[in-house]
Amino acid sequence: MSAALAALLICVAGGIGATLRLILDGLIKARIRSSYPVGTTVINVTGSFLLGLLTGLAMSQAVPQQWQLVAGTGLLGGYTTFSTASFETVRLIEDRRYVAAACNGLGMLIVCTAAAALGFATAHVVTR
């Protein structure tokens, strides 16, 4: 795969990832009537696990590097989002919901990092 084709595929995959985020967030919001941003949390935790898994698989040569870029940097990068999570945390602070804000800010960080580590560990077990 040429570098230009890889860059194009990364962009297309990012568009698909953002679309998946829009649809999944909409479906979750329609089912769970909560002012806590459950949708963004589910999206970021699942995306972090999958990127950890993919990165782990690529490190053990199970996935070619350019496909790691398309699926990881493109699809999962477009699927997960930091800006919305940060904005929603500030909204919770403005509403004086400090515990919810701490969960959305620091809690999400810890859970997503743990999910990525679990992805690494899963890749390690699968490729052993």
Partner: protein, 147 residues
């Protein structure tokens, strides 16, 4: 009688707008990570992207929060630039994966990178909202009323 409108997340035009914005945002992020190397082991490209994206999203959503600016175009901009563009530009999966990988060899740096991103991101969101509320939105609303 009109049919009940499709939910926002299932309308084809909205999906197309978000996909286009997501592709542009992801392309910009990929380009930046190609040209900005790590600094002292810290993935400063992802850090900068996430903080700048949080600032811009705060600015954008707070501008569009004014009802008098709420038109069909405002929704398209929110979806295209906000959900698609800035959502695709910023990334949480890279933040989490880089932190988990960094934690194996340099746990202190990993903690600093992760918490630093979230704290700077929150400060950037607040700055964007504040700038929009105090300056940008009043200027836009006044400009619109004067016409």
């Amino acid at each position: 009688m009109r049919d009940r409108p499709r939910p926002l997340h299932l309308s084809w035009s909205n999906i197309a707008i978000v996909a286009l914005g997501g592709a542009v945002g992801t392309g910009l992020r990929y380009g930046i990570t190609l040209v900005v190397p790590r600094w002292a082991g810290v993935p400063i490209a992802t850090l900068g992207i996430n903080v700048v994206g949080a600032f811009l999203l705060g600015l954008l959503l707070e501008v569009l929060a004014d009802r008098s600016l709420d038109t069909g175009w405002s929704r398209r901009i929110r979806l295209g630039v906000g959900t698609g563009g800035l959502g695709g530009f910023t990334t949480y999966s890279a933040l989490a994966t880089e932190t988990a990988a960094l934690a194996i060899t340099r746990p202190g740096l990993a903690i600093g990178y992760a918490f630093g991103t979230v704290l700077l991101g929150a400060a950037a969101s607040i700055a964007g909202i504040w700038l929009s509320r105090g300056h940008l939105r009043p200027a836009l609303v006044n400009g619109k009323n004067r016409r």
